[in-house]
Amino acid sequence: MAVAIVQRQPISRVAPIAWLIAPALLLFVLFFALPFGVMAVMSFFSGNPVSNPNAVLTTRHYERFIYDSAGIYHDALWATLRIGLITTVISLLIGYPLAHWMARMQSRLGHALVLMAVIAPMLTGIVVRTFAWMTILQDKGVINTMLMQWGLIEKPLPLMYNEFGTVVALVHIYVPFMVLTLTGVIGRIDERLEQAARSLGAGRLRAFVEVTLPLSLPGILAGSLLVFALSISAYVTPSLMGGTNVLTLPMLIAQQVGTSFNPNFAGALGIILLLVSLVIVVAYNKILTRLSGEQGLA
């Protein structure tokens, strides 16, 4: 009996939580770490080293991007980041007041209805929503047709096939992510803190700026990072809404894989996008940490 207990001890050392984490970990390793590793390795080869014995190690894909003799890659990176940043800021400006209102709503029914309204667009696919925006913003779309019929404009306004149209559609798609993230964080902020500030003489605005806003910074950070990450990796919406006037790195990556059949350069572009994004995310985290006076937010 004593022997049996001794033998069982090592098994019992595996915490139950480890078994619960295992599926997620396996998923992460199989569908992120492993493909990412393959992509990183491929980006340093001239061809596919598995099927092509002549494939050699090279840094030429990175050099191609860095020297940019074609004159399009740096522009594409900047356009990707610019669209991501603008989409994030606008989503935050739209999403924060809505999230604050939802979090402070007393009525459970009202909260449920607004929540449904926020989530409802997510029940429709991104492609469908983007096509809906196309029917609204294109030259013969709802807005331009109406304005022209009313005689307010003679030529269609350039609402689509540019960054404006791309950002409009992206904001519409990603605002729910911002709202849902912020609502959870703002909802957990003790309302009495704001009331205490006001009872000590702070106005509504000052109480918000000095109490609620700093306490909601973790939500702002999480929501912003989520929307930023989704925006810079978006492919369908920029390619449909941007036409030829918008060229982002995900579009270039798809082009390299799908029509230039160069997965190695596509891999290099993917790594570059990830590295640049990581630098921005770390910097953003540090700035918000400093602003909130805390040690770390994420």
């Binding site: 074609a70 060229l247 082009q255 059949f261």
Partner: protein, 347 residues
């Protein structure tokens, strides 16, 4: 001692196991042919009639992939056990594939007897594998906008069409690539005169650019575009639907958009793959598909109904108007061309 009940139970168990195993045994004996093929109307006809008839005749199953793009998937599969046995794409992708040793160079009458009956363009030195159909890339236009039927590629540059002419995002669309080469021929010294082509392309701005021919069809049908580059099939398929659109083959010639079949060198069912290509070249199969999607058949022996025969490229004289691009030449400089046209058409 085995009781009657346990003997019956055991027997029933064996019977059940045998029943369950039977489909897998059958499956193991039935060869599977893995192919790529298009979706849409073409895919509907293939799945409804063409493929079931082939499966029945050759006692096999066909696994058809309709999710484009196919070449990256073939690239990612092991060379000695390719994802596809028969590779159906347009010509430009076949040239990329053959460069990597993913498909065969040529298919001859020895492997596919019906090759003996095809027009010369289907097996020309501009084609890797064999072209089973072709479309003609020309100009589609609205007939309700007071436009004369275009006779030249230069008609697309008419200032009246500023903002309502349509083209393609050249890096991702082979019709756009064909159009670029054609601009070199029309405005310069030939299909390979890229400088003349770039200059002519810039002169077409403002131009609405799309990724796929399906989008161009929609733009023409909605009136968003009054005249655009498109293949004849993309217009003729609306025949009888009272749509105000028509197709014109310019006098300088039309570019061939070939539907090419090829076999992967390491296919485990190569004979079946060749039999499939031979089957696709049979006059009766060609007729069904040609009339279904308005593609010009490669087999000279196909007799189409008068309506189709009048418009499609079905005689030696007609197919002589088809210009086949040199995709090997184009693919070798595709990256430079992509960068140049991306900058040129931006803004």
């Amino acid at each position: 001692m085995i009781s009657r009940r346990s003997a019956l139970r055991t027997g029933a168990g064996f019977a059940a196991a045998a029943t369950l195993a039977a489909p897998s045994i059958l499956h193991a004996q039935t060869k599977t042919l893995k192919i790529t093929t298009w979706g849409g109307k073409w895919g509907d006809i293939m799945k409804a009639t063409v493929l079931p008839a082939f499966e029945k005749e050759f006692k096999c199953t066909v696994s058809a992939d309709q999710s484009f793009p196919f070449l990256p998937k073939l690239q990612a599969s092991p060379k000695n056990d390719p994802l596809y046995d028969v590779f159906h794409t347009n010509s430009n992708e076949q040239w990329s594939a053959v460069g990597e040793g993913l498909v065969m160079d040529k298919i001859t009458v020895k492997e596919v007897p019906n090759v003996a009956d095809v027009y010369p363009y289907a097996v020309s030195d501009k084609v890797v594998g064999i072209s089973i159909f072709t479309s003609a890339i020309g100009l589609g236009y609205r007939t309700d906008k007071g436009l004369a039927k275009p006779t030249s590629w230069k008609d697309l540059a008419d200032p009246k069409l500023a903002g309502s002419r349509g083209g393609y995002i050249i890096p991702v669309n082979s019709l756009g690539q064909c159009h670029l080469m054609m601009l070199g021929k029309v405005y310069g010294k030939g299909l390979q005169d890229l400088d003349a082509a770039y200059k002519a392309l810039e002169a077409l701005k403002p131009i609405k650019l799309v990724d796929f021919t399906g989008q161009m069809e929609k733009m023409l049908l909605s009136g968003e575009v009054s005249m655009g580059v498109i293949h004849d099939s993309g217009i003729y398929r609306y025949d009888g639907q009272n749509q105000p659109v028509d197709f014109a083959g310019p006098s300088e010639g039309v570019m061939a958009l070939e539907q090419v079949l090829n076999v992967t060198p390491s296919s485990k069912v190569k004979e079946l793959a060749f039999a499939y290509i031979d089957y696709m070249l049979r006059p009766d199969v060609q007729k069904v598909l040609a009339e279904g999607v308005w593609y010009s058949p490669s087999n000279k022996k196909v007799k189409l109904d008068a309506k189709y025969d009048a418009k499609l490229y079905t005689t030696e004289a007609k197919v002589a108007q088809l210009i086949q691009p040199d995709w090997k030449w184009y693919n070798a400089r595709k990256e430079d061309i992509d960068a140049r046209v991306t900058k040129l058409l931006k803004g």
